[in-house]
Symmetry: C2
Subunit: 312 residues, 2 copies
Amino acid sequence: MNNYSIDVEVSEVGPRDGLQSISPILPTEAKKCWISALAAAGVPEVEVGSFVPAKVLPQLADTAELVEHARGIEGLRVAVLAPNFRGAQDAIRAGAHKITIPLSVSETHSLKNVRRTHAQMLEEVSRIAGLIRETPENQRPDFEGGLSTAFGCTLEGPVAPERVVQLAEALMQAGCDEVGLSDTTGYGTPDQVRDLTRAVWRAVGRDRLTGIHLHNTRGQGLANVVAALDVGLRTIDASMGGIGGCPFAPGASGNIVTEDLVFLLEGMGYRTGINMERLLEARQVLRDSLPEEIELYGFTPEAGLPKGFRYA
Amino acid sequence: MNNYSIDVEVSEVGPRDGLQSISPILPTEAKKCWISALAAAGVPEVEVGSFVPAKVLPQLADTAELVEHARGIEGLRVAVLAPNFRGAQDAIRAGAHKITIPLSVSETHSLKNVRRTHAQMLEEVSRIAGLIRETPENQRPDFEGGLSTAFGCTLEGPVAPERVVQLAEALMQAGCDEVGLSDTTGYGTPDQVRDLTRAVWRAVGRDRLTGIHLHNTRGQGLANVVAALDVGLRTIDASMGGIGGCPFAPGASGNIVTEDLVFLLEGMGYRTGINMERLLEARQVLRDSLPEEIELYGFTPEAGLPKGFRYA
């Protein structure tokens, strides 16, 4: 599957955002099998891990090895998270294609989460951008600033769109190639998705914000995707089986479910390059490697594709 | 709550579409309590039952009594299903404000479901329309033709939009006041919702199609609602706790979940007239009256409203 035939890019964040909230550590080989199965299904981008200290998130301690494995898969774009300069160094050394540094729009959340103010985080972004500039061109990763809690914060409540716009500008000035919007708390509504995207576009340019990371905490995930597509965003994060985030009750998952997202996109006429049957095989690979008590979500895997279903 | 302050009408179909797939029969008093609690939360319309023979659906045998009860609640619009002339007679006698007769666009499904061809169903619609004309004006219900399997059929597969349009025209000619679109199988996509609504509008007029009945079988329910709102539909069916339809696995429900729908609508700036806290009280009334093994779905009830949430 060649990239030119893709209308919307699905970025699978399960190996990072999904696994980071699961305590039993998956063997590295199991993660590799899953990543390979995702790629074999046509998933164009996988966020394979995060370069955080192993003692903070032991589940993600093998991120460098996963980057190396994923880089060996032709056509796959290998994304990672790096919360700081040290992590970015490791990410560049490992050879990631894309590095995302999360910046929480809620400073309260930022202080609680990474113990850094906005100013300190922006300083870190500048240092990473400098490092990337010094990296030989053929090894230089894309560098994204991920605006988390952009749609509201469980600590601060509503987040002013002006604050999101200011921080998007600051991230670009500090040296990011692009910014991303992240509904960390599942507060977002379709109107917010449209309005906030347009506001950030006006500040940093349309080509500097192309993707969105949505959660399904209040069941609004795919509704927000429809708004994201309407406004013109073309990279959507999702997690296989909806793993990750803050699971509550039956059906409550953190991330939006990759399988349901692909059905939505193909059904709407957007080519994803992803084959549903092989995606369900990748789901089985994940299922087989996860402890039984970890539930996989998703409606389409259970209901199956509609009779007579056609890809976009 | 006065109707003039409502932008989008939520029609609660749980007492009909939800309960009809639950075998343990709920006491009539429990149903009355639930309907009253729904109305107390501000739900403007409730489909309280279906006038089918008691031996076919014993759960709905008390529909006449529920209509009488619901008619006693000021401001509540009382809707019922009637699959045939006999049912419509009973519905008029009971005093329903609105009668919906379902017509399956898939004739295969129609024959299997009600053992009637399209021609036979349209003949039934004509007879009911005649009966309504003979009914004293102040007791005359609204009469809707519900186009089920409009987005695809589990037996026939894809359903041609032209067929939906033809049947919408035929229903209007046979004497319906309006038509409704129903995604019985959960096959629908946001594009289909927009395109099909516009196609039917061109044929019968915009004021003759204002509502939609969506299922969440493949997790696309609220995504389809966003499309329905975008195109301009203003009555959305939903079921408390997502009961009804064809439940599969964790999170899979038939109908879209009223609680999540109200959060979506209010979050998007559409006034529903519904109070979320009281809606959750109504959910508790339902929970208390349902057998334990019946699961209630919905994300918002578990996650709670966002900090600083404001109604539209």
